[in-house]
């Protein structure tokens, strides 16, 4: 029996060039708020980079800036050395054709079936005939374990399945850059392990660059080459290879990685003492 061909592992290849670069980027959705503060980071071509952090620290916003959804307030986001200009529609569409994004809640088209959702980018951007589209869609669905669910409506599948369909859609065109927004949230342990492996294998097989935004530290550390840790209010507090971050002495990094309740990051939103809010006297 012939042995399976060994896929080249891009982690072993020299690839020091930066595909994406954040150069002192600040951003807010309105002039009164700031979601990202002076972020400088770079993401290497062909690698899986994780962006970790608690809820509301600006991780998803970071991905949106890469997609050119919003203009930055200060600094620049560069892809292949070229700054993204959100007013330049032609440049944006050219850039977006190179990327695939998995949304936090799937963002599947609810009026289409599972099959049609995955076929959507193929129909929009290629002239492939129906047979070819069918084959590609079924292969992508097979990769996420949902080939048998191709004919189902979106309303008929669970949240975890929807996420996997969204993953199949994101990889339909084999994009050069894959952005994953919370790919593990809502998945059962089996689906989570399969998805994590799929992200890694896809990256290695296609030579794509992957950015995984998540707060699942262990899952991400198992598959990523490099990681950034963010914290409120939209700042990068640490970055490095997973083993370096695991060994970090920084109390904020340690608290986040180990999920400790006490530490520099407070669980409670700033508030007056509970007794005061409940109208209780301090001596009772």
């Amino acid at each position: 029996m012939p042995s399976e061909p060994t896929l080249p592992n891009v982690r072993d290849l020299p690839s020091s060039d930066k595909l994406i670069e954040f150069d002192h980027v600040s951003f807010g959705y309105d002039p009164t708020s700031t979601v990202l503060r002076d972020i400088s980071a770079s993401f290497q071509r062909g690698k899986v980079t994780a962006i970790l952090g608690g809820s509301g620290c600006g991780k998803t916003t970071l991905l949106r800036l890469i997609g050119g959804v919003h203009p930055v307030r200060q600094g620049a986001v560069r892809i292949d050395g070229e700054a993204i200009d959100t007013r330049n529609a032609e440049q944006l569409y050219k850039l977006r054709r190179r990327l695939g994004m998995l949304f936090q809640f799937g963002a599947l088209f609810t009026d289409l079936s599972v099959f049609e959702n995955v076929a959507f980018p193929l129909r929009e951007h290629t002239d492939l005939d129906e047979t070819m589209i069918r084959d590609i869609v079924l292969m992508k669905l097979n990769a996420v374990g949902l080939r048998g669910a191709a004919s189902l409506r979106i309303s008929q599948i669970s949240g975890g399945m929807a996420r996997r369909v969204a993953l199949a859609r994101a990889i339909a065109l084999d994009p050069e850059l894959l952005l994953y927004d919370e790919p593990f949230t809502g998945l059962d342990p089996i689906a989570m392990g399969v998805t994590a492996n799929l992200i890694r294998k896809l990256n290695d097989a296609t030579g794509a660059t992957s950015l995984v935004v998540s707060h699942d530290v262990q899952e991400c550390f198992e598959i990523c080459d490099y990681a950034y840790i963010m914290a409120a209010p939209g700042v990068v507090i640490a970055h490095g290879r997973p083993e370096e971050l695991n060994a970090s002495d920084d109390p904020q990094v340690r608290q986040f990685i180990r999920g400790e309740p006490d530490g520099p990051v407070k669980f409670h939103y700033p508030a007056p003492p509970l007794a005061q809010d409940l109208g209780l006297r301090g001596d009772r």
């Binding site: 959804v69 963002a107 929009e124």
Partner: protein
């Protein structure tokens, strides 16, 4: 001084809103040629929007025809002109009630549905997903619905008028007992296809543009929350209805002027 500042703010807000609507409208027009290259999306919308409104349009048209025939008969019988019931009903329907009532019903039925659908697509990040897939949501989602509404409106208005005339026939001829020959022949001689029917169709096309544009605009600009979508849906009905009524007055003055 405070009220002058408030007045200025109000005027600026109105101008800003008008400017935004105009920019959005021209942006939508810009996407139409791209959208028309794949006409099946617009055809699907004509089918969806037409089906959605058909029952309410037909039942309302029939009811309006019944009532109009009765009221007209009561008024005309006093002057011995009861045979003209068919003519008056027909002119009322094709010139005014057909286009206007159809537009109001369309805004309430199909317009709200369009706004809610697009608003929920926005809330579910479907429009963002499309954008990030390098697919323009204005061209792929909004334009086919806009075109579909413009095509569906005159068809629905014609159906409204036709069923209304049938309703009037039932009341005037079958129930009251007017002569059917007079009913149809006076109608035929008094209604001008170009002036009456043609202008009625032009009106309903204009109303189709208004209702469809307001619906897709409100959906696209809705806040991506359940409350935001609910508010946008309400605004669709209010703005569409008021604009249709105002535009009807302008169009009537322009189309049916005797000078």
């Amino acid at each position: 001084m405070e009220w002058i500042a408030a007045l200025g703010r109000f005027a600026l807000d109105i101008l800003r809103a008008l400017g935004h609507h105009a920019a959005f409208f021209f942006e939508l027009l810009r996407t139409l040629p791209v959208s028309l290259r794949r006409p099946y999306f617009a055809v699907a919308q004509v089918h969806a929007l037409g089906n959605l409104s058909l029952l309410v349009i037909l039942s309302s048209g029939l009811a309006v025809g019944f009532v109009l025939a009765l009221q007209t008969y009561y008024a005309l019988a006093t002057y011995g002109a009861a045979d003209s019931v068919g003519l008056v009903v027909n002119l009322s329907l094709v010139r005014e009630l057909g286009p206007v009532v159809t537009a109001l019903l369309f805004a309430g039925r199909a317009g709200t549905s369009l706004t809610a659908e697009i608003g929920l697509m926005k809330a579910g990040e479907q429009l963002s997903a499309m954008e990030l897939m390098a697919v323009d949501p204005k061209s792929r989602v909004l334009a086919p619905r806009f075109i579909g509404g413009i095509i569906a409106m005159p068809l629905l208005a014609l159906l409204f008028s036709a069923i209304g005339i049938l309703g009037a026939y039932v009341v005037a001829v079958l129930l009251i007992g007017l002569d059917p020959g007079n009913f149809w022949s006076i109608m035929e001689s008094g209604v001008d296809v170009r002036r009456d029917l043609g202008n009625g169709i032009i009106k309903s096309i204009v109303f189709g543009v208004i209702c469809s544009f307001v619906a897709v605009y409100q959906g696209f600009e809705a806040k991506a929350t359940p409350e935001g979508v609910a508010r946008a849906t309400t605004r669709t009905v209010v703005i569409s209805s008021l604009t249709v009524l105002a535009m009807d007055f302008v169009l009537t003055a322009l189309m049916f002027s005797t000078r």
